[in-house]
């Protein structure tokens, strides 16, 4: 348990951020992040390289979050997921960027095709390299870069200054 506890302690923020990046809902992200850790705990024996835990749990939480998002989108009739609740711990958005601008960006992120949105939000996580995002998404690194470029281009043209 102590080894698992150390892994949870080291990766909880990142796992939560991946879940939140996909779901845009703090409560849902918490559920999914917790489920991801429990799945990892149950399957810990199948992990041959413990040093790969971070990438491994990243892929687990991403898949779970994506499934949850799809099911939420089916269930909910609201326009966008990103217009939902805010994550806990986020302060006033007016510190550096105004709320309206953030809302527009949120809306546009949500309108991106899933493949572009996934890459954009994963690569926005602190310390997330393109190679790691590629591993999580099970696509080549070059694909991550090209999708990231397309996503940025789309946002640049859709979110007017």
């Amino acid at each position: 348990m102590s080894e698992f506890e150390a892994q949870v302690r080291a990766n909880q923020r990142r796992v939560f951020q991946i879940a939140y990046a996909v779901l845009a809902d703090a409560a849902e992200a918490e559920d999914v992040a917790q489920e991801a850790f429990l799945q990892a705990f149950r399957r810990l024996r199948s992990l041959r390289e413990p040093e790969r835990f971070r990438a491994w749990i990243g892929r687990i939480v991403y898949r779970l979050a994506l499934n949850r998002r799809r099911s939420l989108l089916r269930e909910r009739s609201r326009e966008t997921v990103w217009q939902g609740s805010q994550p806990s711990g986020v302060g006033s958005e007016k510190d550096t960027l105004d709320q309206l601008f953030l809302d527009r960006v949120r809306r546009e992120i949500d309108l991106l095709p899933e493949k572009l949105r996934s890459v954009l939000v994963l690569c926005a996580i602190e310390g997330m390299e393109a190679s790691e995002a590629a591993w999580i998404l099970k696509v080549p690194e070059g694909t991550v870069r090209s999708r990231l470029h397309l996503a940025r281009k789309r946002l640049l043209s859709e979110v007017k200054p």
């Binding site: 698992f4 949870v8 705990f41 926005a124």
Partner: protein, 161 residues
């Protein structure tokens, strides 16, 4: 500031880092001569940075709620890591089968069973003819009569009688 229409797309590509050095060089050459496009590029660059900051803020500031670690660890104590139950089950079934087979009474065959086992078809009896014996015992090409078994003659006589 609006850029030259024919260069607008290239400027967007430039700020989203899509082109290689050669293409960037062509755009740079134009920028060196065009103040309008230079101004537009600065605006685009600044706008892209603002969007990137917004995306990073939306995703990156999500923090796991208080008590998340404890909650995960508590849940983990309630589940056990998956073991290979099927492997143990298979081994137990194999051991039980072996014990059952050894312990199962194996009765001696009775006279009727032995007679059935000893039964031979009439065709088999017909095949035991002097000609067949001769064919089997005759030397093949390259063999010598000197190797002929001395007892063979006696057997042949017996068969003939």
């Amino acid at each position: 500031m609006k850029p030259c229409p024919e260069w607008e797309e290239q400027l967007i590509e430039l700020v989203t880092n899509a082109f290689g050095a050669e293409t960037n060089g062509a755009v740079r050459e134009h920028l060196a001569r065009c103040a309008r496009c230079t101004g537009a590029l600065d605006e685009l660059q600044s706008h892209r940075e603002r969007i990137d900051a917004a995306v990073q803020r939306i995703v990156g500031e999500a923090e796991p709620p208080r008590g998340f670690l404890e909650s995960v660890l508590q849940s983990a104590t309630e589940v056990r890591p998956k073991r290979r139950h099927w492997a143990w089950g298979l081994a137990a079934a194999a051991a039980a089968s072996l014990v059952l087979w050894v312990a199962w009474p194996h009765p001696e065959p009775d006279a009727e069973s032995l007679s059935i086992l000893a039964w031979q078809s009439p065709t088999a009896a017909l095949l035991r003819s002097p000609a067949e014996t001769l064919l089997r015992s005759a030397p093949r090409l390259g063999e010598s009569y000197g190797n002929l078994d001395v007892a063979l003659g006696e057997q042949e006589e017996g068969v003939a009688r």
